[in-house]
Point group: C2
């Protein structure tokens, strides 16, 4: 009956494509989880497959090597963070609280689970030139997007090199706060640091 409804034939294959995409998503999400909670050495295709509830064969069909799994995970994570950040920045309040809201959101990116996962890859890449070559372009693309959006959020369209550098310093501080949060919950201290930084930044921008 459905076949006679005049719909094109291709959508019939869709459920399989959806399943394949869902498997891929589950594997990537499990990779972030394993990286953030068990660290780099535990993050192999077979451990991730088990965590995702996916057979090892199916996992290897999507990601034949650990490198392909890690690269795809970082790629998607950075895209998601960039997408989420651009929506967040669109909803920032106008007025005096805007700079602090923008700094808070930048810091949120660097203190989340996805950053903790990325940190494990980063740290492994420090002693692995092959991995470093794979992740450096992803990291650069993400850093540029974060910088562009934060400049836009706090100062609009501007080429002012002073503003661009202040935003770089802000993102470096956010990265340092992310690192400080890996060994223990640093949220109370972080809140004060963000408030202080935002005040100084707002004054410098005026």
């Amino acid at each position: 009956m459905f076949r006679d409804s005049g719909r094109p034939a291709t959508p019939v294959r869709k459920p399989q494509q959806d399943r394949s995409r869902a498997t891929r998503e589950r594997l990537i999400s499990a990779t972030i989880d394993v990286l953030a909670t068990e660290g780099w050495s535990a993050s192999t295709v077979s451990v991730v497959a088990e965590r995702a509830g996916v057979s090892r064969g199916a996992a290897q069909h999507h990601f034949p090597t650990r490198e392909s799994l890690i690269t795809a995970t970082l790629e998607q994570t950075f895209d998601e963070l960039t997408g989420r950040a651009s929506v967040m920045y669109e909803t920032l309040p106008e007025g005096p609280g805007r700079v602090e809201a923008a700094v808070t959101r930048a810091v949120d990116i660097y203190t989340g689970t996805q950053f903790k996962a990325a940190l494990q890859v980063w740290s492994a890449a420090a002693s692995d030139p092959g991995l470093r070559d794979l992740i450096r372009p992803l990291e650069r693309k993400f850093a540029r997007a974060a910088h562009r959006m934060t400049v836009q959020a706090i100062a609009g369209d501007t080429d002012d090199p002073g503003v661009h550098r202040l935003v770089q310093a802000t993102l470096d501080m956010a990265r340092g706060l992310g690192l400080a949060d890996t060994l223990s919950d640093d949220s109370a201290r972080r809140k004060q640091v963000v408030a202080t930084w935002s005040e100084v930044l707002a004054a410098a921008l005026n």
Copy 2:
């Protein structure tokens, strides 16, 4: 003849103590080297012993476990960095360049080989509660010392909470700059960020 010279007996044992201390130093220095260049997983007592040119037995006499080797290395590293920083701060220029010089020295600490080595331990500790418990007190002690010395360097004896928080933010930025330097040489960009932040910091302190 020496025994009859009237000297006490203990100094005769000194060369052996010196040798033992030198072996310990060589092992700690090799640990920093292996951590920074080959990463956490490579940093075992036997790999470090080989790098140091020390027999495995001698290495295990000093450090029976990997944890004891890593803890001793961080302890000594943080003590050395604190000692070196306190001397550096004593030689800071007076006048308008003082804040930038202090920020530069703080950033130097977080971009050196010792920080890169510590970062590997940090990253491993994120998924290892036992290691985390061992290194957290060392890290806290170091962070407090770095904070105290930087406050002293840029503002002298002061309890001003605003100054204390500005210095915290500065050290968070320094930590973020350290992280940014692990995948590639970030020194050119870092120099600009340090100059920009130092200017803002100096203005905020006045």
